[in-house]
């Protein structure tokens, strides 16, 4: 049986697509310039960085809106066409959507010494920058999964799923590609990265794996023992709320690394202030704060002592446009759907 869970935070309807709003301003700020940042990142995770920013730059205050990636993409497209006022900065984990926005000439170019220092995989056209570096990991419930079962590679996970009478039947979870832009991106990159993807889909089908939408759902499910193993979970979310009984594995065959992309819309009103925020987030100080929040994986981390070749950064470049192609996407989703079964009526409605 395949089950779906509803992400509770998501509200339906295009008018109020943001999930939460927070305002950051320095205490001694006098009439600061307010910039609107629309992001898919949880407010809580970014709070330290934004607090530090408004302390250094009291002349700027931030209105931070948290959006679902698909809704944020739709909003940015509309803003690009001039239908609605644009945000001053857009910061999304749906990197392929951001690449598409830049490709549609929706972004404003900016360059500074800091942005020029970025590796080429983390910048495109000086209009899109990868701020973070977060791994896609496998998590498991340490209490319920024996240590020898913990899959350190995709091949181990495959073997686990192929066992007859597997105890993991119905207990393996991953993102639903239609419900989550990030889930789609990870699955799509997997399909490009290795031939194991076909095996994985087959394994998921065999074990009645669960496709669900949101990081929080999955992590909580693993912690509570509802799921034993979850595949392709964004590592930063796992570490942000440390839990006793969750084990994190960076797959040793390869680990995808996601850089959340930052864009200044060309119709933004405060481009200058948005650029200052960009420079801050990319500066050593900003990166240190983000690293402390597990948003930037450092090479020398002991926990992630992966070989260089196993780290596959999702490059911010036009190749991601393939993920946005209607035909390709529907074909991919069809393949996925044939594994996980049709979306039940009353299930996910419009995918955010």
């Amino acid at each position: 049986m395949i089950r779906y869970l509803l992400c509770l935070l998501i509200m339906s309807g295009p008018a109020i697509a943001q999930e939460a709003v927070a305002r950051f301003a320095s205490d001694d700020a006098v009439q600061p310039t307010d910039i609107i940042v629309r992001s898919t990142t949880d407010i809580g995770i970014l709070t330290p960085a934004l607090d530090a920013f408004v302390t250094i730059h009291p002349e700027i205050s931030i209105t931070y809106e948290q959006w679902g990636s698909n809704a944020l993409y739709a909003n940015s497209r509309a803003a690009c066409d001039g239908e609605i006022p644009a945000a001053d900065a857009v910061f999304s984990s749906g990197v392929h959507q951001m690449v598409d926005l830049v490709n549609r000439a929706c972004a404003n170019p900016y360059a500074s010494d800091i942005t020029r220092d970025l590796p080429p995989t983390r910048v495109w056209r000086n209009e899109l920058w990868g701020i973070t570096l977060e791994p896609a990991v496998i998590i498991y419930n340490t209490a319920l999964v024996p240590a020898e079962d913990a899959p350190h590679t995709r091949f181990a996970l495959l073997d686990l799923m192929r066992r007859a009478e597997s105890p993991y039947r119905g207990k393996i979870a991953t993102y639903d590609v239609e419900a989550s832009g990030l889930g789609f991106l990870f699955a799509f990159m997997d399909s490009l990265e290795a031939t194991t993807f076909g095996g994985l889909l087959e394994g998921f089908a065999r074990t009645d794996a669960v496709a669900t939408c949101c990081s929080a759902e999955i992590i909580d499910g693993v912690a509570e023992g509802e799921y034993l193993i979850a595949y392709n979970v964004l590592g930063s979310y796992v570490s942000s709320v440390p839990r006793q009984n969750i084990g994190v594995i960076h797959p040793e065959d390869y680990t995808l690394l996601l850089s959340r992309a930052y864009m200044i819309p060309k119709t933004a009103t405060n481009k200058q202030a948005a650029a200052i925020l960009l420079d801050f987030l990319l500066s050593d100080e900003g990166q240190d704060i983000l690293a402390a929040g597990n948003l930037v994986q450092r090479r020398d981390d002991d926990a992630t002592s992966l070989s260089e070749s196993a780290q596959r950064a999702i490059a911010i470049d036009p190749k991601l446009l393939v993920a946005m192609d209607q035909h390709r996407r529907s074909r991919f989703v069809g393949q996925w759907r044939s594994t996980f079964g049709a979306l039940p009526a009353g299930g996910f409605l419009s995918a955010p």
């Binding site: 080429p120 056209r125 446009l321 393939v322 035909h327």
Partner: protein, 466 residues
């Protein structure tokens, strides 16, 4: 106030700077042409290479189209976008369109121009992507399946950043090399020209260091152009030397030759004053003879100076010796010099042409005739004869000529057979010798069957020499 030295007129511009400016302007023009050409070349090369990427991507996409359940479905390959993203910072647009032009997948912005579906080959066109100039290609794929028949067009476009960057890069590379080559050229041109000019500098310093009275030839080494100049200058100096020499000789001759006759005239005049009236007409007669002789001497000296001047300065011209003979006979007036002596003229029918100076040769002829009239025996003959090699102007008298010892000494400047008498045969002969030398001829004196003949032989000017 001391006399100020006249300032040397400054040369307009040095040869070196002239040549360098010439080379520079040549390089500038060449540089402009090379930059334009290399930019055009760079643009073309960039367009060709990136057009290949474009068509590669379009073909990749076209290949990926399949007919599934009666519909054309593209399975856009990542490799297509991998190709396109070789142009790092360029935006991309692509569209897969059905037979009716309806968008199957891709971007609305990639719009093939009208009538493109009917074309068979891939074709390129320029358009814009959100206002940015872009290059597009459309390839058409035909399907004739059971459940689908018609064409599917794939249009792929890309902005031009990478192309322009590449074109600029190629141009810059070419320009840097051209610039370096230009600098090397200027440097080597400078060095070459300077070393070529060195003989001129050396000549100038040599001339400056030279004593003003030093008219010896300069060293004529160095390149041909400079040697020509040195040669010309040496010739000029030689001429100057000769003229100065002639002038010195004239002055010293004049002083030397005039001293005796003038002293004689003075003595005659003093005696005339003291003489009684009886002897006076006789004295005056002598005085007159002396004075006339002095006049003749002066005439000859001047004529010699004239001849020496002209042989150095007047270019040789074709001269008919018959005219000269007539002229000589006319000018000499034998009746005056030797009354009663008959002079015969013997000339040919055909012109006798030599390359010479008419005035000089006439002077020589006059001297020859005068000599014969004064010292020779009648009858006296003046004539012209010619052979293919030499043409001759001769004067002959019936006498035996001067004695052998005089003959051998004759022709020197100070040689006068009868200097004390105020006659001047030696001077006349020296004129004759000077003329012969100047025009490549010679003087011969000798006995003939009919008497003593003095001959001035000059090379015959034939038709072929003209």
């Amino acid at each position: 106030m001391p006399a100020t030295e006249r300032p040397i007129k400054r040369a307009q511009r040095s040869l070196l700077s002239r040549v360098i400016i010439g080379v520079l302007s040549l390089l500038a023009v060449g540089g402009c042409i090379v930059s334009l050409a290399s930019f055009a070349y760079g643009k073309n090369a960039a367009r060709q290479s990136y057009d290949r990427l474009l068509i590669g991507a379009a073909n990749d996409i076209a290949e990926s189209i399949n007919i599934i359940d009666g519909a054309a479905v593209a399975d856009i390959p990542v490799s297509a976008f991998g190709l396109l993203s070789l142009a790092l910072d360029d935006r991309i647009s692509y569209a897969v369109r059905g037979p009716d032009g309806a968008l199957l997948t891709g971007y609305e912005t990639a719009l093939p121009p009208e009538g493109s579906a009917r074309r068979s080959d891939a074709f390129y066109f320029d358009s814009t992507l959100q206002g940015e100039p872009s290059r597009f290609v459309t390839v058409v794929r035909r399907f004739s399946e059971r459940d689908y028949s018609g064409t599917v067009s794939v249009t792929v476009g890309q902005t031009l950043r990478a192309r322009n960057a590449m074109a600029l890069d190629l141009t810059k590379g070419a320009l840097v090399i051209t610039g370096l080559a230009g600098i090397a050229l200027i440097l080597s041109a400078y060095l070459v020209i300077r070393s070529a000019m060195r003989p001129l500098d050396r000549m100038a310093s040599e001339l400056l260091a030279r004593d003003p009275y030093d008219l010896t030839p300069m060293q004529a080494d160095g390149p041909a152009e400079v040697a020509v100049m040195t040669d010309a200058m040496n010739r000029f100096m030689q001429r100057l030397d000769r003229q100065i020499g002639a002038m010195k000789h004239l002055i010293s001759d004049t002083a030397h030759q005039l001293r005796t006759p003038v002293a004689a005239i003075r003595a005659q005049a003093e005696l005339a004053l003291e003489d009684d009236t009886e002897h006076q007409p006789q004295r005056l007669e002598r005085l007159l003879r002396r004075t006339r002789s002095l006049g003749n001497l002066l005439d000859q000296m001047l004529s010699r100076a004239l001849v020496i001047h002209r042989t150095d300065n007047a270019p040789p011209e074709p001269v008919d010796l018959r005219d000269i003979a007539l002229q000589v006979l006319d000018d000499c007036d034998p009746e005056l010099l030797a009354p009663g002596v008959e002079v015969d003229l013997i000339i040919t029918d055909t012109p006798v042409i030599v390359m010479a100076d008419e005035v000089s040769v006439t002077e020589a002829g006059k001297n020859m005739l005068t000599n014969a009239l004064q010292h020779g025996k009648a009858p006296i003959r003046i004539g012209v004869s010619t052979s293919p090699i030499h043409s001759e102007l001769w004067v002959e008298d019936a006498g035996d000529g001067p004695p052998q010892d005089v003959l051998s000494r004759i022709g020197g400047r100070f040689e006068r057979s009868a200097a004390s008498q105020g006659n001047s045969a030696g001077l006349g002969l020296s004129i004759l010798h000077a003329v012969a030398e100047a025009f490549g001829g010679k003087v011969t004196m000798g006995k003939t069957d009919t008497g003593f003949r003095v001959t001035l032989a000059l090379p015959t000017q034939t038709e072929a020499d003209k």
